[in-house]
Amino acid sequence: MNEPSFTLSELNRQVKDAIRDRLPETYWMRAETSDVRRNRNGHCYLEFVEKDAVTQSIIAKARGVIWSNVFQMLSAYFENETGQQLSSGINVLVRVSVEFHELYGHSLTVVDIDPSFTMGEIARNRQFVLKQLEEEGVLALNRELVLPELANRIAVISSPTAAGYEDFCDQLKNNHGGFVFYTKLFPAIMQGDRSEASIITALEKVYQYRELFDAVAIIRGGGASSDLNCFDSYLLATNAAQFPLPVISGIGHERDVTVLDIVAHTRAKTPTAVAEFFIAHLAKTATELIDLEERTVSESESRMMKERSDLFSLSRDLVHQSSLMIQREVAVVQQLSDKMKYGVRRLLQHQSHALENRAQFVQMVSPINILKRGYTLTLKNGKIVASLHDLSVDDVIETRFSDGFSTSVITKTKKSVP
């Protein structure tokens, strides 16, 4: 064995030199973060992994470090740009220097990060998940559910200790409409690696009691982390989309719209906004009820008013018509009685007139009156002489006047020629 040999440290130094010679620059590298943690000095240690696009099995892995001063700058920049913390499970584009340490081995030191790559990756992933959901025909299922008019029984999926959960409950309890709400908490882990499975488990629990609820609120807020990874997960999204109750999301994110937000029946920004959504929904329901009530009251009132006025005018008409009728009848009777009076009077007048005439005539034709007018009455032997035949010369006749008589002797008779 004449060949020279190295000690481990000698060999490692060779590797270190070779790497430094061969890879002297810093390089942009695409990888997924894993196992991100910070030590108490503020340095960030993590793993970079690359997964096979199809099998998702890890095909490359390297340790990485971001020194405290760099991390403070980069993490703030990254969070500001992407809206999420630099945490595990994120696809990143980082500028690294390749290091090799005799004791610690190979590692990558991060000197810069490009948040737009991550945003692109998140967006790409979202598009991918959304497309998958669409192809399976489940994307719009939850959105198509109708929230019942009286949606006041709410299953809440949240971390029990989150400030957002408290805000949500307070907001509902102190609503100005005086509406009653029933909430039931189904606790779940809302951030980190276990959140996806935890939220799905909570959804499955709600499903068992689905008859008791009108809607599910998935809320999160108040935590420092803004790790939204799980809300872009296909598994959670497909569960939520196919859930039989409307899902209302309020995962406390102002800027981003996660896949969960998209498949949810309604997306609100914060837990408080979810509560406001429920309150507004009941307020609308109450408004519709009050509208129906007002329509009932006003319609029935105006109808009864009309009936009363109809009745009044009917009764007025009745009085008017009947008094008119009576007046007319009275007039007829009056007329008749007038007519009768007149008739009787005329009749009486007529009769008395006739009587008078008769009396006059009787008077006029009485012998006394006739004698008064110059006529005389001739009697022979006490009998009225009406014809010359009864008389002869030398007959003694009595001539009667109105005021006495005379006696004469007939000396001559002569018939008048007709």
Partner: protein, 63 residues
């Protein structure tokens, strides 16, 4: 009535209101309908604003 859902009550109420507004009811029928409408409105209002203790208990008991 107690077994009715809010939606059922509301639907019946809407039918009654449109009947009332049709103006084709006689006064007796109108009075009946208004009476029923008042009951339904009271029922709905109670659902909106009164806590159902029984339901609250059922929810509280879920483990």
């Amino acid at each position: 009535m107690q077994k009715m859902t809010y939606t059922e009550a509301k639907k019946e109420l809407e039918t009654i209101v449109s009947d009332i507004e049709s103006g084709e009811l006689d006064v007796d029928a109108l009075t009946e309908k208004v009476k029923r409408a008042s009951e339904l409105i009271a029922f709905c209002k109670e659902k909106l604003t009164k806590t159902d203790k029984e339901l609250q208990k059922i929810l509280d008991d879920i483990e």
